[in-house]
Amino acid sequence: MRRVGGSHRGLDMWLMQRASAVYMALFLPFFLVCALAAGPLDYAAWHGLFASPAMKVATFLFVAAMLAHAWIGLREIFIDYLHCARCTLLRLALYFAFAVLYLGCLVWTVDILWNVR
């Protein structure tokens, strides 16, 4: 088969990579300030930090951005380095495996965050 290209993909991933990076860059200093303002890092302060719904949502978005960023980064690595004869199948399997793993992490994050009452 002749090599084909021009799949009109890649831009969405590239944009998502940037957008998630911007959110993480904004959230991390914000979170640091909040954590320092919450007083000594004992259980009560840490618990109180995550009590408000706003912090829950912001943290959830941070984890979602991080997982999306990581998944796209892995995809780039797989595209860069995996191109043997059967690697299309291997790449597809890896994309799928990491997507499932990261979605699981996201659900777990929800479980952890919304268990803080």
């Binding site: 090599r3 290209g5 021009g6 799949s7 009109h8 993909r9 890649g10 831009l11 991933m13 590239w14 944009l15 780039e76 595209i79 860069d80 380095y81 191109h83």
Partner: protein
């Protein structure tokens, strides 16, 4: 001066090797190409390399000197660590010694249609541009297609058949940026691909090595911005 030069002659059947040369040569004011020519003249007439204009205009003597892709004709010998190691440009097939097969490189160049596409009737004199519109092309048209940037790019090393490489992408943007060109949309369509364009991770090796001081990474960034603008 001491040199270590990559030698390969496929017709001999021997494996590639590195040959050492000791050249009695005053390096002051001289370039790497002068030394290569002196070696060919006085020490070893079988040493093969490309050169034409010998002043950084034609782009035919791109080689890897001490690990950096350079044009031999504009790279001063003074200041180079000895023994000076000269190899062919990375990742391209070697035809002989320092001569590489540029077919893949030119194929990517042709793929971006490096010519003006304008369907209007041909004007009597010319297609005028304002000075500002013309200024958009500065830093793009100067490329001499020596291949130093593309062969220094790891993304090209990993996917040489699919990633267009910095030189072709710079040329692609040169015609996207041209106000006289009417095929911008088709050009963007062609480039919007995980391999052709988006293998670029912006590590800027191309900017570092370009002997003409051009910035392919910036041009690639502008292509990406245009794609974003078009998509939103």
């Amino acid at each position: 001066m001491r040199f270590r030069i990559y030698r390969y002659d496929p017709e001999s059947g021997a494996a590639p090797r590195v040959q050492e040369y000791e050249l009695d040569f005053d390096a002051k004011g001289k370039k790497v190409l002068d030394a290569l020519i002196a070696i060919k003249d006085t020490l070893d007439e079988t040493l093969s390399f490309r050169r034409s204009c010998r002043e950084g205009v034609c782009g035919s003597d791109g080689v890897n000197v001490n690990g950096n892709n350079v044009l031999a004709c504009v790279t001063p010998l003074e200041g180079l660590k000895q023994p000076i190691e000269i190899r062919p440009l990375p990742r391209l097939g070697v035809i002989r010694d320092l001569i590489v097969d540029m077919a893949q490189f030119y194929q990517h160049y042709r793929a971006v249609k490096p010519y003006l596409i304008n369907l209007d009737p041909e004007p009597e004199n010319e297609r005028p541009q304002s000075p500002q519109q013309r200024a958009e092309l500065d830093g793009l048209w100067e490329c001499i297609l020596c291949g130093c940037c593309t062969t220094s790019c790891p993304s090209f090393w990993w996917n040489p058949d699919k990633f267009l490489g910095p030189a072709a992408l710079l040329q692609g943007y040169r015609f996207i940026a041209d106000t006289r060109d009417q095929a911008t949309d088709e050009r963007l369509d062609f480039l919007e691909d995980p391999y052709r364009l988006f293998r670029c991770h912006g590590i800027m090796n191309c900017v570092e090595v370009c002997p003409k001081g051009l910035n392919p990474t910036a041009a690639i960034g502008k292509i990406k911005s245009l794609l974003v603008k078009r998509a939103l």
